[in-house]
Symmetry: C2
Subunit: 328 residues, 2 copies
């Protein structure tokens, strides 16, 4: 999805990413329970963009790091991500992930829950090995934000009273908290001064939010070949994405009834998706969400100003632009 700047980051960190992959492979082994590497190999083998571990390596490099704790932290971040995917697929009752059957479908929900717990524990062991209490603090806080956001999403889902503030909290849990932790720990392990660590946090946070809002918009305008999503998937799954939240906030009585039927009750008919898009267009909800995404991407780029001039800084800046170029 993030082909260009992402590919260049991948090329730049190829050697380190090989080391990270090796670390992931070694640490997901289990002497006693072969089910564990089976499940994780299925998920890790499916690829994925490995964006989060790459963000950690990039942040460390940008701050002049030359050790190998960045690899441990990159693997940590990928383990946390994989653990949340395993639990998410159970919670969402998903059957497909990265174009393959999900672990909960191939094995069972029990394996996904427990192997997810195992990966959390493994990630925790890896970060302890870095010996940095500050890194541990950042990742502990991110873990809490992630879990809290997931619970919030569970209770706020399909509730038309969901505000943009709640939406942001959910998005931080779903995406931005791990992005911001990934970049911040890269800086911290490099011994970057507080202003730089803070800037890296801000960059990851804003990038994650821009990424998620763009994803919300692609549900209504995307090219399914390029995104791998079908237009209207989120709508059919009754997800309260940002454009819908904005449209609901401006809805008259008839429109409220429409959203209540399609999202809250899930009673959808032919033509509802087109009607939803027309209503959102009429209220400027799609354009407003698009403007928000660009705003967050700009915040990401702006925060990079507090960081040293560096080729990686340019790549991170391009990455922020790229995330929203998909909805331009």
């Amino acid at each position: 999805m993030l082909s260009k700047p992402h590919d260049r980051l991948a090329a730049r960190f190829e050697a380190k990413m090989t080391a990270v992959d090796m670390l992931i492979r070694t640490r997901m082994e289990s002497r006693h329970a072969p089910r564990i590497p089976q499940v994780t190999a299925h998920l890790v083998g499916a690829g994925g963009k490995r964006l989060r571990p790459m963000l950690t390596l990039a942040a460390a490099d940008l701050c002049g790091y030359s050790g190998d704790n960045d690899e441990k932290l990159a693997a940590t971040v990928e383990f946390i991500h994989t653990a949340t995917l395993l639990h998410d697929d159970v919670v969402d009752e998903s059957s497909q992930r990265r174009g393959r059957a999900t672990a909960n479908l191939l094995w069972d929900n029990k394996s996904s829950i427990l192997v997810g717990d195992y990966l959390f524990a493994r990630s925790f062991q890896l970060m302890v090995e870095t010996g940095s209490l500050r890194v541990l603090d950042i990742l502990a806080n991110a873990s809490a934000t992630i879990a809290e956001g997931e619970v919030l999403q569970l209770t706020a889902a399909r509730d038309l009273a969901t505000t943009e503030e709640i939406y942001l909290q959910v998005v931080r849990g779903k995406t931005a908290a791990l992005f911001s932790a990934a970049t911040e720990v890269g800086g911290v392990i490099a011994g970057a001064p507080d202003t730089q660590a803070r800037a890296l946090y801000e960059y990851g946070d804003a990038l994650g939010i821009a990424f998620q809002i763009a994803d919300d918009l692609l549900d209504f305008q995307g090219d399914s070949d390029a995104t791998g999503k079908n237009i209207g998937d989120d709508f059919r799954e009754r997800k309260l994405t940002l454009p819908i939240i904005k449209a609901v906030a401006q809805a008259d009585a008839t429109e409220r009834e429409f959203w209540r039927r399609t999202i809250e009750k899930g009673d959808q008919q032919d033509g509802d998706l087109e009607h939803a898009m027309a209503v959102m267009e009429r209220h400027g909800a799609l354009n407003a969400a698009r403007a928000d995404a660009f705003d967050w991407a700009n915040r990401a780029t702006d925060s990079l100003e507090h960081l040293p001039r560096h080729p990686v800084r340019d790549l991170l800046s391009e990455l922020a632009d790229y995330v929203v170029s998909r909805i331009a």
Copy 2:
């Protein structure tokens, strides 16, 4: 269950346990997701013996600790325990816990999974606050052993090829790893020398194993009023407990067929429980398991010799005896 020594520990640490309870109550709050305190209050409110946090306080006291990080670690240990209970109840599809409906029944599996994740993250934040990397290392390793043991239990369950070695690994995951971490971190936070920390680990490990084997035996001989379990519950749930593993190891062809039918296939008939008990009795499997439990309780007591003379040491010794007195 552990009424006498446990009650005396509870009396001795009453003030500290009040502080621990307060910490648990404060830290399970969530600014954003009210579902979290609902679920946790249900479980925490149901009581339970609070044995694990008490072991941490006892170990710290025994090693002369006078700060309050022991309270944070006690709350940490209880959070980890509560998180595993939430996930276990989903995995086991349980409907009752501590005499009340389980969270997965009252809310749903999704809430139990995600609130469990939240409690893991919270426990992690709490232990980071102690600033001790060694404590973090111990608890990270315990978390991995717990999750690995749970996965192993999933795949080894109902498999007659399960050996006593695998059984021990499962028991460490289920019970002993958190007991041993609870006692060891108490010593470590007190700055105890390595031999003492090691002895505390051994005590917790052996106590947990003795406890679990005693629990296995109570399924065949317990007084259901005192234990809260009905005779044969484990057998009906087709659990490969230690006495059965020992009997299977000595089974002739006819007995093997019996175990295959009742445990592997779950095709149980009237009289099977009585027959199972007769077969175990014939092979001395119940007595051998009982001897193992006493052996582990003795190891627990022996390990205390490396620790300072102290009234709490006597209480811990009595606790080990008490755990197996139920099956004497």
